[in-house]
């Protein structure tokens, strides 16, 4: 392979986040052209940000897990559980902020169970979290008696925690910035990548893989629970049917479209945010130009496959080019 072609492929592979950003921008331009109300009105921009935010926050956690070669299918159910724990805590007389923290801690506890069962008892994470998916869903339905309730607290608190149009996306950006920093600039992130790329090797190098991965399971739990609370305040209702598998799969899809393969060993948080943006643009765009909503799933499926093929193909070419 010639040097220039190799450099081109190198740049392309490194460019992964930028290339999905280009896709997002092209989609935005296209929809904007088809319907001028797509982005330029504040209502639709708000709407878009509210679609992107929950998927992106949970995606950040899933990406950390996926880099380590694991997945959490229960995230969407934890999303529904956390605001109920918060509600019952507040109902029992606990002040609002500690009640919110209790809700998030409960979500983290589910993550801890997922991590311990997977890492210490040796059940594959797909199976562990499939189990806790149903378990947590049943738990939420039981404690809520299947009925929605109204979130506790003052309007001002609700505004900060998601009710104001752009507060969710601001929380999202905060989470993205912090976790991007963790992934790229701390030992935690580096060791997560190493344990996904070569688990035995990472252990032999003295990395505490078990502790690390359990920590990432707790992280997904916490982020899912936090997102559930944000959405509850935004909507003004705590619904036992909220979130669910739809939000979990959207989050995983955002990660994959953004350039994080499920195989482990690599991934990008920023890519996950852009992936969620692409999903949001497709969703809103189709609605606004009046295309059948069923088409959304077809496009989503195709986008996941295309992103995955792109990943595999480019990585393989870049690798082949590298060996002299």
């Amino acid at each position: 392979m010639t040097g220039s072609r190799r450099r081109f492929l190198d740049a392309f592979a490194r460019w992964q986040e930028a290339s999905i950003l280009v896709v997002a921008l092209l989609l935005i331009a296209w929809f904007e052209n088809a319907n001028h109300d797509f982005l330029l009105t504040s209502a639709s921009l708000e709407n878009l940000s509210q679609f992107v935010a929950p998927a992106a926050i949970i995606a950040c956690g899933e990406i950390m897990l996926m880099i380590g070669g694991e997945i959490d299918l229960s995230a969407g159910m934890v999303f529904a559980l956390a605001p109920f724990v918060m509600y019952f805590a507040a109902d029992a007389g606990i002040p609002l902020v500690p009640a919110l923290i209790l809700g998030i801690l409960a979500a983290g506890a589910v993550g801890l169970v997922n991590g311990v069962v997977t890492l210490i008892l040796g059940v594959p994470s797909f199976v562990t979290t499939l189990g806790t998916l149903f378990l947590v869903n049943g738990l939420t339905l039981t404690i809520s008696h299947g009925t929605p309730v109204t979130p506790p607290g003052s309007p001002a608190f609700a505004e900060v925690m998601g009710a104001w149009g752009y507060s969710e996306i601001l929380w999202t950006l905060l989470v993205v910035v912090v976790l991007h920093g963790v992934l790229r600039h701390t030992r935690w992130g580096l060791h997560t990548i190493a344990s996904g790329a070569n688990e035995t090797g990472a252990r032999e190098a003295g990395i505490h893989v078990t502790r690390l991965k359990i920590g990432n399971f707790v992280l997904v739990g916490v982020l899912s629970g936090f997102t559930g609370c944000l959405e509850a305040f935004r909507i003004g209702s705590i619904d036992p049917q909220a979130g669910g598998n739809q939000i979990m799969f959207l989050a995983v899809a955002a990660g994959v479209i953004g350039g994080t393969p499920l195989a482990g060993g690599s991934g990008t948080i920023i890519g996950g945010l852009i992936g969620a943006l692409v999903l949001g643009v497709l969703n809103d765009g189709f609605t606004l130009i009046g295309i059948n909503a069923f088409l959304f799933n077809i496009i989503l499926g195709a986008a996941i496959l295309a992103a995955m093929l792109f990943n595999i193909y480019i990585t393989r070419l870049a690798r082949k080019g590298g060996r002299a």
Binding site: G181, H185, T186, R187, L190, H191, I193, A194, G196, A197, N198, T200, G201, A202, R203, E204, A205, G206, I207, G265, S266, A318, R319, G322, R323, A324
Partner: protein
């Protein structure tokens, strides 16, 4: 010559299987010890005990003459024992410099404990140049390097950590002549510097006699033969192993 590492009567059982059956060895300061033996002879188990990855069922270990009981890889490392495993313990998707500093990253000052990538990149480049290891760039992910280059990175990583005792698990496995030459040069160079004592598991008798000062043959979890490399030959080693085969077939 002083001893760097001594093991006495190491035994390791995994359930009903006895992987090591009373193995003793001495690694002297500054020497290269070649450990030969068939698959399943217990070489890898021995290596894993010496690096603290496994704990022996019975037996004692001495580092610099003091008895120690290694309870983790980190503990062994703190005593200056480093190992390069056959699977290399490299993370393929990470850059050369991140691999060289895996789990001993250089951190920036401050409460955030952020990685100091610039310092790691610089130190990795210096270290590899100092050892005569040539690669295109320390920024490349290691999956882009050849087998010999990867092995060299793994050895360099171990050396770079101020190891005094280096354990190598089949450093020349599945390598062409040119690649093997690269590693052999690196090992001989390290030996000349004299800071390191090296024990290596090997398959190829001729290569072992070329590099090692002493060789040790393991069969069925025991040490059955030990000699200075200069005082033995490929023929003699082959003869011992052949005798074993005949005994097995005859019995």
């Amino acid at each position: 010559m002083t001893e760097a590492l001594r093991a006495e009567n190491l035994t390791k059982r995994f359930g009903a299987v006895t992987a090591l059956d009373g193995v003793s060895l001495t690694l002297r300061q500054g020497e290269i010890l070649g450990i030969l033996g068939d698959n399943g002879a217990g070489k890898s188990t021995l290596m894993k005990i010496l690096t603290g990855y496994e704990t022996p069922t019975n037996g004692q270990l001495f580092v610099d003459g003091r008895e120690v009981s290694l309870h983790s890889v980190d503990h062994a490392r703190s005593l200056g024992i480093e190992c390069v495993y056959q699977d290399l313990a490299l993370a393929n998707s990470l850059s050369v410099y991140h691999n060289m500093f895996l789990n001993r990253e250089i951190l920036r000052a401050g409460p955030l404990r952020l990685l100091d990538n610039r310092a790691m990149r610089r130190r990795a480049t210096e270290c590899l140049e100092g050892m005569g290891v040539q690669i295109p760039s320390v920024d490349l992910p290691v999956e882009r390097l050849s087998g010999g280059q990867r092995q060299a990175i793994a050895v360099a990583r171990a050396v770079n950590s101020d190891a005094r005792i280096l354990l190598l698990d089949e450093p020349l496995a599945a390598m062409g002549a040119r690649e093997a030459g690269l590693i052999i040069d690196l090992l001989l160079r390290l030996k000349r510097e004299g800071r390191l004592s090296i024990a290596m598991i090997m398959h190829n008798y001729a290569q072992t006699l070329d590099i090692a000062d002493r060789i040790m043959l393991m069969q069925h979890g025991r040490v059955t033969y030990e000699k200075d490399a200069g005082a033995t030959s490929v023929q003699e080693l082959m003869e011992i192993v052949r005798r074993e085969y005949r005994a097995v077939r005859g019995g």
